[in-house]
Symmetry: C2
Subunit: 432 residues, 2 copies
C-alpha cells in the first residue's frame, strides 16, 4: 500500500479553510474589479532563464525545477511579477497602462516553518506603463479599500519613497551605488531595532548564535545623519513632509511624495489610515520610487500583509526598454490567517444551509423533490446519502458540517402533510 | 537580454479570456454550492508514488517531475481524483459522505496539439463514502443544472453503467477479466465507427498510417452479440430499459440503472436532456458502476465536456479498504472554448464600465474624486493614467478595452458645472 502523505512545506486546505479563502479572495477581486483592473492568468511553469534573471541568489536557489519530455530547463514561478514582466514584453499590443490583477499559487523551496509553506497564494495588482503618481495613489487607496471591504477596522498603510531615501544617501555622503545594501539594512529596523541596525551600518556584530553579521563600514558621522533622518516621525503626513524639508531642503523628490499624500487627503484617506513612515525601505533591490506596506493594528504579529512599490526597470531585461510600473502583492495565506485570528472570516464549514435527512428508502423520490425544490428556490440544500440509517447519526453529520437546519420526514409526516424542521444551533424543534 | 517566451503546450490567458473563465467558474461554483458540495484545495506537488499508482502507463509518462532540496521524487498532479483519494485516506475524521468540488490546474506533458495544453484546469465534483444511487442521480442532475446555468439550451447527458456492460460480457461469453480491454475498444465507437470497432474486437486491422492495431481475438458469434447490444437505441430511457431487459432478462444490475433513471424522471430531467446510451463505456479502467458524459448539441465538435462515473476502488491502494465514490470532471478549457464558440460567454474585455479621461493635470484631484465617487457607488471605473495627453488617444484606449462609457471633463466643463459623457458603443455624445 502507498502511504497517503504530503512532502514538507505542502499542505491541504480542507473545506472550511478553502471556503474562507474563496470568500476573502472574492471580496478582494470585487474591490479591484471596481477599480477596473483586469485579471491575468499565466502558467505555473516558466523557462528557468525567464524566472531566474530577476531573482536574487536566495530566490534562485528556492526555485522548484521542472523538466519536460524535450528536456528543457523549466521551473515553477516564485512570484507573479516575473510572469507579468514577461507578458508585457511578449505581447506588444496590450493596451497601456496595463492594470492587471492575478491571484495564483507560487512555489519556493524554502526551509519550511510554522505558517511558512512552499506553495502559497499571492494576489498581485500592478499598473504597468505609467509614471503617473495617480497610479501610486491608487495602489495605496486600493490597500485601504481592500482592508475596509474585509471589515478590518484598524489598519495602517505605511509609505515612503526610494527617491527620498536617495536624498538621505546624499545627505549622509553615501554613494548611490551602495543604496541596495543600505536599504536592506534599514529595512530591518522594525525587527532588529536601532542598536543592531547602527552596528550593521558600521563595524558589524556577532548575533546570538555567534555568527558574525558583516557591517557596511559607514563612519559615525554618516550614521548620525541616518539616525537624524530616522527620528522623523509624526502621526501627520504633512508634519513628516515639513520635517523632511527642514532636514534636506526643498526637492522635487519630496514634492512628488507630497502630491501622492495630497491626492490621498483629497479622497478621504487621512492620517489615521495612511502614514508617511520614512523608515520603510523594503528590502528588494528593484524598487525605484514609492514603497508601501500595510499592517493590521489588532494583529501586528502577522507583519506586513500587503507590500509593494514602484519598480520602473523590471521589463528591461526582456525588452531593453524602461517601462514604468507600480504594484503591490497581498500574501493571501498570511492575510487569511490574520482574518481568521480576528474572527472576521472562516465561519462556515459547509455550503449547505439545510440537510434533509433520509430515513425511509421508500420515500426517496419525496426527499429528492424536496431537495430540488429548495435548491431551485436558491437555498443550498443537501440530501443525506450516507450509510447512517437513524436520525441521530444523520443529525450528527449536520452538526459536524454546522449545517443550520435539518428537515425530518417519514411516513407519519407524509400522512399528516407536514415536515419537522430542526434548528441545529439551538436544538429546538418546530413542525410546520 | 532574455527572450520572453513560454515552453510548448503552455499559454497565457489574457484578460478577456481570464474574465470569461472566471465568470464560467463562478457560475459552476454557485450550482455546486447550492447542492451543498464543499470546496477542497490540495497542493500542485505530490509525491510521485502517490501520483503514479493510479495512473495508466501513458499518464505516468506524462507526469511533470519536480524535485525539492531534500531530493525527493515529486510530480505535478495530473488530475484531481488522485489527490482526493489521498485526502480521504489521510484525514480519517472527514465526515462522510464527503461531497467536494475542486477547481484547479493539472499538468500533463502530452504531445501538444491545437486546443490541447500541458497545463489545463479541471472542475471536479465527487461524493465519497456513499453507495447510494441518489449520489449518481445527483451527479447527472448537476451536469444538467450546470449546463442550464451556463445558458446552454441544447445539451445531452448520456449515461450507462459498467454493471450493464458486465451483463454484456456474460451474454457474449467474454471473461470479466477482459472487461478493461473490451470497454476500451467499445469507447472508440463514436470516433472510429462500428466497422473499425468490429475489426479491433476480432483480428485487428492496419490503420491509415500503416500501423497495425492489434485485435482482441473475439470470434464472430461474440461480436454479433455485442452488436445486438449496441443496436439498442431509443430516445426514451424507459424504452432502452425494456430492450435491454428483453435481451438479457431481468437483472438487479438493470434495476439499479432503472432507479437512477426514475429518480431523474421524478425531478424533471426527461429524455430530452438525459439519455440512456449503452454504448458509453468510458475508457478508464477504474469505473465500477454508472458512467456518464455530456455533449453540447450545438457544438458537438468539442466532444464530451463533462465525464465521470462511479469508481469504488480508488482509495483502496492507500487504505486497503473499499470506499465507494462517484464523480465527474469538467474540462474547464474545453467547456470555455465551446461556450465562446456558442457566444454564451467572453463578451467583456474589461471590468471598468466607465473611463474618466484625464486631460488637465491641474484637475487631478477633481478626476480622482469623480473616480472614487463612482467606485463607491459600485460603478467599476478607471481613471486614465497613461501617457496620451489628448482625448483622441484616451478614447481609443477605452475602445481597445471596450469600456462602454467615457467621461470628458476640462476647465470649460468645470466652469459650467457639467461633464461630457460619451457612449463608446454608438459614439454619441451627451452633456449632463
Amino acid at each position: 500500500m502507498t502511504e497517503p502523505r504530503l512532502s514538507r512545506g505542502l499542505r491541504d486546505l480542507l473545506p472550511d479553510q478553502t471556503l474562507a479563502r474563496q470568500e476573502m479572495v472574492d471580496i478582494i477581486r470585487r474591490v479591484y474589479e471596481l477599480y477596473g483592473f483586469v485579471p491575468l492568468s499565466t502558467p505555473a511553469i516558466e523557462y528557468l532563464d525567464v524566472l531566474s534573471g530577476s531573482a536574487g541568489q536566495e530566490t534562485q536557489q528556492s526555485i522548484f525545477r521542472v523538466t519536460n519530455p524535450e528536456r528543457e530547463e523549466l521551473g515553477l514561478r516564485f512570484d507573479l511579477t516575473v510572469p507579468l514582466a514577461r507578458v508585457i514584453a511578449q505581447y506588444a499590443d496590450l493596451p497601456r497602462p496595463f492594470r492587471r490583477y492575478q491571484v495564483s499559487p507560487v512555489w519556493r523551496a524554502d526551509k519550511p516553518d510554522k505558517g511558512r509553506f512552499r506553495e502559497f497564494t499571492q494576489f498581485d495588482l500592478d499598473s504597468v506603463g505609467t509614471e503617473s503618481e495617480i497610479a501610486d495613489t491608487e495602489i495605496i487607496a486600493g490597500m485601504c479599500d481592500t482592508l475596509s471591504a474585509l471589515r478590518i477596522e484598524r489598519y495602517q498603510v505605511r509609505f515612503s519613497s526610494r527617491t527620498i531615501l536617495n536624498l538621505l544617501l546624499d545627505f549622509a555622503g553615501i554613494p548611490q551605488e551602495r543604496s541596495v545594501d543600505v536599504f536592506r539594512v534599514l529595512d530591518k529596523l522594525d525587527k532588529a531595532g536601532i542598536d543592531k541596525v547602527r552596528l550593521e551600518l558600521m563595524q558589524g556584530y556577532k548575533d546570538e548564535s555567534g555568527d558574525f553579521i558583516r557591517g557596511l563600514g559607514l563612519v559615525q558621522n554618516q550614521v548620525d545623519r541616518i539616525e537624524k533622518f530616522l527620528a522623523i516621525k509624526s502621526d501627520s503626513r504633512n508634519d513628516v513632509l515639513t520635517q523632511v524639508r527642514d532636514l534636506f531642503g526643498q526637492s522635487p523628490n519630496i514634492d512628488a511624495v507630497a502630491r501622492i499624500s495630497d491626492h490621498l487627503y483629497a479622497l478621504g484617506y487621512g492620517d489615521d489610515r495612511v502614514s508617511l513612515d520614512l523608515s520603510i525601505a523594503r528590502g528588494l533591490a528593484y524598487y525605484t520610487g514609492p514603497v508601501f506596506e500595510a499592517v493590521l493594528l489588532d494583529a501586528p504579529q502577522f507583519g506586513s500583509i500587503f507590500g509593494g512599490g514602484r519598480y520602473d526597470n523590471l521589463v528591461m531585461r526582456f525588452l531593453g526598454e524602461r517601462i514604468p510600473a507600480v504594484g503591490a502583492s497581498i500574501g493571501v495565506d498570511r492575510l487569511l490567517a490574520a482574518l481568521t485570528y480576528l474572527g472576521k472570516i472562516g465561519k462556515q464549514k459547509s455550503t449547505a444551509r439545510v440537510l434533509i435527512t433520509n430515513m425511509d428508502p421508500a420515500l426517496a423520490d419525496d426527499y429528492l423533490k424536496m431537495t430540488w425544490e429548495l435548491r431551485r428556490a436558491g437555498v443550498p440544500t443537501e440530501l443525506y446519502i450516507g450509510t447512517a440509517k437513524g436520525p441521530g447519526k444523520q443529525l450528527k453529520y449536520a452538526d459536524q458540517y454546522e449545517i443550520p437546519l435539518a428537515i425530518l420526514y417519514g411516513t407519519n409526516e407524509k400522512s399528516q402533510g407536514v415536515v419537522t424542521v430542526k434548528d441545529m444551533s439551538v436544538g429546538r424543534e418546530q413542525t410546520k
